[in-house]
């Protein structure tokens, strides 16, 4: 069969450059021997631990860890009628060694089911990358290799860098609630005084920040950084989150019920807004259609329901400390809830088995090794 396997190297590379994820590149390399020879291992060789402050001989350093949120499915040829998926978040510690983190929280899975494959071959599956999460960590070079979370930040870290990593910008929310910026070559964080920030996102090549009233700006990186208004405030809830869905920027407004408990806030309602960039307002949307939103502790992303779990879209996975009953930290579902936009029903993930089984335990097809070949 002449044809695609005979595609000249430079044309194959043109195609490979348009693939955004590490896994797509791996898949491409595993198709046939000529493609394997032509495509370098990684077109964007960024390590998943990115040093922010150099160590310079000191015993610790500040690193940015990148985690990938992956949607795994069987190859199309193996799929039966029901769509079965697995949603995971992986952090690559050293090349080829990874650990699994709950997709919505920072809870690390330590106990795998008995037959779980020791070596996990990604090329057996369809792998879509739904998002990335960045976490700031202090790395102490103690023999035990423990990592403590930096106390400099709370909430999201957003990050942008050139393809070879020689220049980068990091935006995060400082403990004071202000926006903090760190650029390559800086010695410390720059605090941006103009706003108290609820959430951040890197969307369409720009950094967006929202305050608790819903007022949203684009942060243009420079000295000094410049904030431009993209949307006015909305009235209503207590916490704003930004998420990308179907190529658009959405804002989710979380309403907390603080009567129950002063310390732990319980989410009682969510409203979703879409950005009208021309009129510079957030417009409420009543129905997400086939989209599912995920509001994690350190990241937010979305998925298409029909490809994801076969159940209805128009719902939100969210994290809520209210769902952390004592002594149950080992539960994969701890801290996660589902909100249905259609009827306002909500509750812990364990009450929604169709939505829960995508997260844990791993589906049966992850274990079986009878899928031929690479």
């Amino acid at each position: 069969m002449a044809g695609w396997s005979q595609l000249p190297k430079d044309l194959l590379l043109l195609i490979a450059q348009r693939l955004n994820t590490h896994f797509d590149l791996l898949s491409l390399r595993s198709v046939c021997s000529s493609w394997h020879a032509f495509i370098p291992y990684s077109l964007h060789p960024l390590p998943s631990r990115f040093p922010i402050l150099p160590t310079n001989g000191t015993s610790w350093g500040l690193y940015l860890s990148r985690r990938r949120i992956l949607h795994l499915r069987l190859p199309e040829s193996h799929c039966q009628s029901t769509t079965s998926s697995w949603l995971i978040k992986v952090e690559e510690d050293v090349p080829d060694m990874a650990h699994l983190v709950n997709p919505l929280s920072t809870f690390q899975f330590r106990h795998f089911p008995p037959n779980f494959p020791k070596n996990f071959a990604f090329s057996r599956f369809r792998v879509s990358e739904l998002g990335q999460e960045y976490v700031l960590q202090y790395m102490n070079h103690r023999p035990s290799g423990e990592a403590d979370e930096g106390s400099l930040h709370k909430g999201k870290v957003t990050f942008s860098c050139t393809s070879n990593g020689d220049d980068f910008v990091m935006l995060t929310i400082h403990v004071s609630g202000k926006l903090a910026m760190f650029r390559h070559g800086n010695k410390k964080l720059t605090l941006i005084d103009d706003m108290s920030c609820d959430d951040l996102i890197f969307f369409n090549g720009e950094f967006y920040a929202v305050d608790k009233t819903g007022r949203t700006v684009v942060v243009a990186i420079g000295s000094p950084p410049v904030l431009s208004l993209v949307a006015d405030s909305v009235s209503g809830g207590n916490k704003k989150s930004l998420v990308e869905s179907n190529g658009e920027l959405l804002m989710v407004d979380t309403y907390f019920d603080q009567v129950i408990h002063r310390i732990m806030e319980r989410a009682v309602r969510f409203k979703v807004f879409k950005l009208d960039q021309i009129r510079r307002v957030w417009v409420e949307i009543e129905n997400l259609g086939d989209q599912i939103l995920f509001l994690g502790e350190k990241s937010a992303f979305s998925a298409v329901a029909s490809a994801f779990c076969g159940c209805a879209g128009n719902c939100i996975y969210y994290t809520n400390s209210f769902f952390f009953p004592c002594g149950q930290e080992d539960d994969a579902y701890t801290g996660i809830g589902i909100f249905n936009l259609e009827n306002g029903n909500m509750g812990p993930l364990s009450s929604f088995p169709d939505y829960a089984k995508v997260i844990w335990p791993p589906p049966a097809w992850v274990y079986t090794d009878n899928i031929r070949g690479v």
Binding site: M1, G3, W4, S5, L7, P8, L11, L14, I15, A16, R18, L19, N20, T21, D24, L26, S27, L28, R29, S30, V31, C32, S33, H36, H71, L74, P75, E76, S77, V90, E92, D93, D96, M97, A98, H99, L100, F112, F116, K118, N119, F120, A121, F122, S123, R124, F125, R126, V127, S128, I371, R372, G373, V374
Partner: protein, 144 residues
Amino acid sequence: MITLTSSDGQTFDVDEVVAVEMQTIKHMMEDGCAESGIPVPNVTGKILAKVLDFCKKHVETVKAEELKAWNADFIKVDQVTLYDLIMASNYLDCKKLLDLTCQTVADMIKGKSPEDIREIFNIENDFTPEEEEKIRKANQWAFE
């Protein structure tokens, strides 16, 4: 007007303004080789017709929205034709068509397993069992 002749002998009369969308043809015109027509030995009549369709539409149309919709329709072809279009747009050096075809292939690949990709593009798995094992090991992670 320029006359182009495909590998299987079909002739096409093309406006100069359309012909220059293909850099290869443009250079030949500038070098004065175009008087008695330009042979295009690497491209069949069927594919050349499609390429010329593309160039003509892109010269005539100004609105980006309209072009985007037209492109989406234009590129709905089987994988054999898609392959021929990539090769032709590369040979004729028509950047816009090359971009469109490469992006289309990339979109077909995203999120697919190697097995899926072979099915879509009708590619044979020509790895030896040893090579397959090596690749599987390269694609795997150990979870701690």
